[in-house]
Amino acid sequence: MERPGVDRDKKRRVRRLALYGAPVPLVFALCVCVGSVNIGLGQTIRALFGLLEAASPDSLIIRTVRLPRVLCVALVGAALSLSGCAMQGLLRNPLADGSTLGVSAGAALGAVLAIALGRTGMGGAVVMAVLFAFGSLLVILALSFALDGSLATNTIILVGVIFSMFASALMSLVIAFAGEHVRTITFWTMGSLAGTGYGHALLLAGALLPCAGIILCLGRELNAFAVGEENARHVGVDVKRVKLLVMVCVSALIGVCVSVGGTIGFVGLVIPHMTRMLSGPDHKVLLPASMTVGAVFLMLADLTARILVKPLELPIGVLTSLVGAVAFVLIFYRSRRGAAGHEYVGY
């Protein structure tokens, strides 16, 4: 007897995804309207459609400052969360996130080097961070392959962690000789999306669209990895290909995010956990849901950073780390109580 559940499951999945996606436009609108100067929704819509005088303060604030910034924040939130979710599934490790591979540290080194040389902005820090991110990935994969031809996950993590430490040491060295740029570097490392423009948004969207497209198509494969890499191979998953695809996409996303927003911690670690508690572990739902929850979380965090001590602004990375650390402790406490005796934190 067959279970007449396939279509029902699909419909349920679509309904749940719509539910997770619904808050995105609402929060997006809220974040564009609210800030150090609050602008009404009607006025915001008029500004967006060019119905206000271009040189009017409201139009300038909405079109040249807030809209590109909120776009960047949403895209970075979605990218970091998706990367963390994919890595936690791939490595079957709830403590993994996009930075586990070491690419994040490599990208940060590139950006810090550019700032120390006095090259800030799109042409300097951003390009250097992206180049260093890909360079880091190549070094990590080449080293892993040289050590272990089968590209075992443990080898890649170990090489990633060592590379991270090496890149961090180099970064400290660069900062020691950075002279008057130390303050800029320090602020950059705290993570901030202030001053981001349409160019940054385009860069983020250019990375997110293809990378998210690829990762979202790997939901079944990531489910198999989350059960176990050996099991994934036994059921027919091309484990090496999937691993490389996910790692290249995650590296591209992390590299671009770090280049645009600096080091924004905990989003990639905590958001997939929180989403898994709501949606369950099925990556066909979990991956897109993590993207939307990550976008909403970072937009609200950025809004808080902008209005909490206005007209001053808090670095968003500091805020996400503070909230993330507390959230993580709560999640860990709950999981230990709920799944005592099991091998992993399980949702």
């Binding site: 067959e2 089968s150 079944r220 989350a226 059960v227 036994h234 027919g236 091309d238 369950g280 099925d282």
Partner: protein
């Protein structure tokens, strides 16, 4: 027809040689018991057939070299029930069994295979339960259902009844025996319990330190002399002494 041909198989981790020049064949309808002490290379051999480790020599499945097979194609022919520790996240029993149909894509028979496999291992009522809440035996039966749902021609079992109590141990072996009755199938099974090897195996391969000590029908392979030289103990005498305890009760 030959299901599996292994010729001069060698596996080494650096200078450490795990398997040395191993050769044997498995025909359709046969249940081959792979036996030997710990460290003999049994799980490594299974890993090589499943594509999990590099090797020298040749492994042919239904006449075709497995190195030329794509992972999905191999998974449609070979199902592996490995030794395992646990599942990381709270998937349901049905989620785990459904993974067994991965290699079959969007086959309309997927739901029927999943349902049948769940019924066969007695996990149908727990299909919506989280695997994190299962006992070791239930988890083992869940993974057995996954392999059955895969519907392979060659079933590879690595100590399949490790976590199971006597009742399920018997059920699993009876179930595999029934599964094998369909033409075009074969079983390769690693067991430590030599009584099970004698009771259910149609042929056996005895491994020691990565080499084949003997192969053939189980009674010949598991002879007193072979076991004495492989395990360095009188296995038959010990087994008789263990069983003799029941006569006194």
């Amino acid at each position: 027809m030959s299901m599996l041909d292994i010729e001069n198989l060698g596996v080494a981790y650096g200078p450490l040689k795990i398997l040395k020049d191993v050769s044997f064949s498995l025909e359709e309808g046969q249940w081959l018991m792979l036996v030997g002490p710990n460290g003999a290379g049994k799980s490594t051999l299974i890993n090589a057939v499943a594509g999990g480790t590099a090797y020298t020599g040749r492994i042919r499945l239904q006449g075709r070299d497995i190195t030329g097979m794509r992972p999905r194609e191999r998974a449609r022919r070979v199902g592996v029930l490995a030794q395992r520790s646990g599942v990381g996240y709270a998937y349901t029993v049905e989620d785990v069994v459904r993974l067994g149909r991965y290699a079959h894509g969007r086959d309309p028979k997927n739901a029927a295979h999943i349902h049948r496999a769940l019924v066969q291992v007695g996990m149908e009522e727990k299909r919506d339960q989280s695997v994190l809440t299962l006992s070791g035996g239930e988890l083992q039966r869940t993974f057995l259902a996954q392999v059955l749902a895969q519907n392979p021609d060659l079933l590879i079992l690595d100590e399949p009844t490790n976590h199971l109590d006597l009742k399920y141990r018997q059920q699993v072996f009876e179930l595999v025996g029934k599964w094998l009755q369909t033409p075009g199938r074969a079983v390769l099974c690693v067991v430590h319990d030599l009584s099970l090897a004698l009771a259910y195996g149609t042929c056996a391969v005895l491994l020691k330190e990565g080499r084949v000590m003997d192969r053939g029908v189980p009674k010949k392979v598991l002879s007193r002399e072979n076991l004495l030289s492989t395990y360095d103990m009188d296995v038959a005498a010990w087994s008789r002494r263990m069983l003799g305890q029941w006569n006194d009760m």
